[in-house]
Amino acid sequence: MRGLKKYLSGLFQGVRSLLQGMSVTGYHFFHPREIVTQQYPENRATLEIFERSKGELTMPHNELNEHKCTACGICQMVCPNGTITVLSKTEQNEDGKSKKVLDRYIYRLDQCTFCALCVKNCPSDAITFAPTFENAVYTRALLTKQLNKEGSKLQKKS
């Protein structure tokens, strides 16, 4: 008799737990407001990515096409896996002194680990992370980028 009672109570409890579970999913089914889907790419115009988000390394240029990079090479040094290569050249400035300036700032997006050591260690705040993420391409070579724009110059200290 006790066995039967146990059997029946087990059956009842089991069914009850199943119905409880179904009530959870059922609730969500009948409450479309619970849907949390954000429709990328339809929401592309309104999609906000947090400003600190690390999408790719960029070198901001002002409207005169000037950047702040002094080609000191610290970022290249602190980078753990050789993502950054700073190529510099020597140039004569107005005073006739030869000076090291940035020639090409090579950034390999396909290697970067986004540890932010370069940005944090940059003495002149020349580089920063941009929250872009639409970077998928068919050709791997396109992921190696030159960050300084053509013909850009070092920004004068104000």
């Binding site: 199943l18 179904m22 959870v24 969500h28 089914f29 619970e34 849907i35 949390v36 429709q39």
Partner: protein
């Protein structure tokens, strides 16, 4: 009054008889039925897959396919095109004959059951006088395909999946059979059209008291298990056996397995609707003439599909809520719970019939 499709079919029959000899008429009719059946099969399959993807999305607080066509309606067309043009891989070491035959057995088993379903009055391929018995026989054929496919694939996962499925289907066949018998005893006929007609003044679920309700629940569970649907999808348990018995199938062959799974689900729901919810019969309540007349305005085919899809939705609700059973739990459920309950239920039903307690 409810439209009788047999008028249409018999007039078509007359028309054909007037131009062709009887043998050819039979042949042409068989061909027509085949084409209609296949078309319905394919369309239904696509609707079901689409429905599952949408329904599960809504259970899961997301949207589901919505980028291909409006609300993702063309998603299944794309899937079909892709599956049709996908390479058919025949792995090394398979038993080529059985490997190729298995998907067809499965899809054929589903198709055979499909033929006996009464979609509306007079709208079925064959109205056997032993319709229920036929369904029982045919629906257990699918396991052959699964076993063969799993065995022929020369892969350990598929063998385990197939063996699981074998144990599962053979066990659950019992409960399904017992619930069939319960309802046949109640209806007094095995003919599906007769069963539906007998529900003109109330569905069996309501007329049959407790035993009908119990039989209904048991049937829903057991038919889900027979169709290898979650939470009974041990045969293809993705987290354990990759894709179970159809791991090695690709392209169209895989599509057959995929389609058959959904159609079996549909067939299970359709049989449940026929046996318990009055099939295509509109909702009639005893002597409420006006109400009954209003209900009759809704065409029977809508009733049939409405009920079936409702039950399909319920099985989806199970599937997307519960974790999968383990093989011993699965067999315990059958042998320790469902089967004794069904036996007891059959007894109860007989008593009720003998005492005339039903409505």
């Amino acid at each position: 009054m409810i439209y009788d499709f047999s008028k249409l079919t018999s007039s078509l029959d007359q028309l054909l008889l007037s131009v062709l000899p009887p043998f050819w008429v039979l042949l042409v009719e068989a061909l027509l039925v085949l084409i209609a059946g296949l078309a319905a099969f394919a369309v239904l399959g696509m609707i079901l897959v689409y429905m599952e993807r949408k329904v599960c999305a809504f259970f899961q607080v997301r949207l589901g396919p919505n980028r291909v066509g409006k609300w993702g309606t063309l998603q299944l067309i794309a899937d079909m095109l892709k599956l049709l043009t996908k390479e058919l891989v025949t792995p090394r070491g398979v038993d080529v004959l059985l490997y190729n035959v298995a998907p067809f057995i499965i899809i054929m088993a589903a198709f055979l059951s499909f033929g006996a379903l009464p979609f509306a009055r007079g709208l079925h391929a064959i109205d056997f006088n032993i319709g229920v018995f036929y369904l029982m026989a045919v629906s257990s054929l699918a396991v052959l395909g699964i076993l063969l496919g799993g065995w022929a694939s020369n892969n350990k996962y598929t063998v385990i999946g197939a063996m699981r499925s074998g144990a599962q289907v053979v066990s659950y066949e019992l409960s399904v059979g017992l619930t069939y018998i319960t309802m046949v005893a109640f209806a007094g006929t095995m003919q599906l059209s007769g069963i539906v007609e007998a529900q003109a003044d109330g569905w069996f679920l309501f007329k049959g008291h407790l035993p009908a309700l119990i039989a209904f629940v048991v049937f829903l569970i057991a038919s889900t298990a027979e169709a290898n649907r979650g939470p009974f999808d041990l045969a293809e348990a993705e987290s354990e056996l990759i894709a179970g018995y159809h791991t090695e199938y690709s392209g169209l062959r895989f599509a057959f397995f995929y389609l058959a799974e959904y159609l079996n689900m549909f067939i299970g729901a359709a049989i449940a609707a026929t046996l318990f919810l009055g099939g295509w019969m509109p909702l009639h309540i005893g002597s409420w003439e006006a109400f009954n007349a209003v209900m009759d305005f809704i065409p029977p085919i809508v009733w049939f599909f409405g009920k079936t899809f409702l039950l399909v939705w319920v099985t989806m609700w199970f599937k997307w809520t519960f974790p999968r059973l383990r093989i011993d739990q699965l067999l315990t459920l059958e042998w320790k719970y469902l089967m004794p309950v069904s036996f007891f239920n059959l007894l109860l039903m007989t008593v009720i019939i003998l005492l005339g307690w039903h409505f």
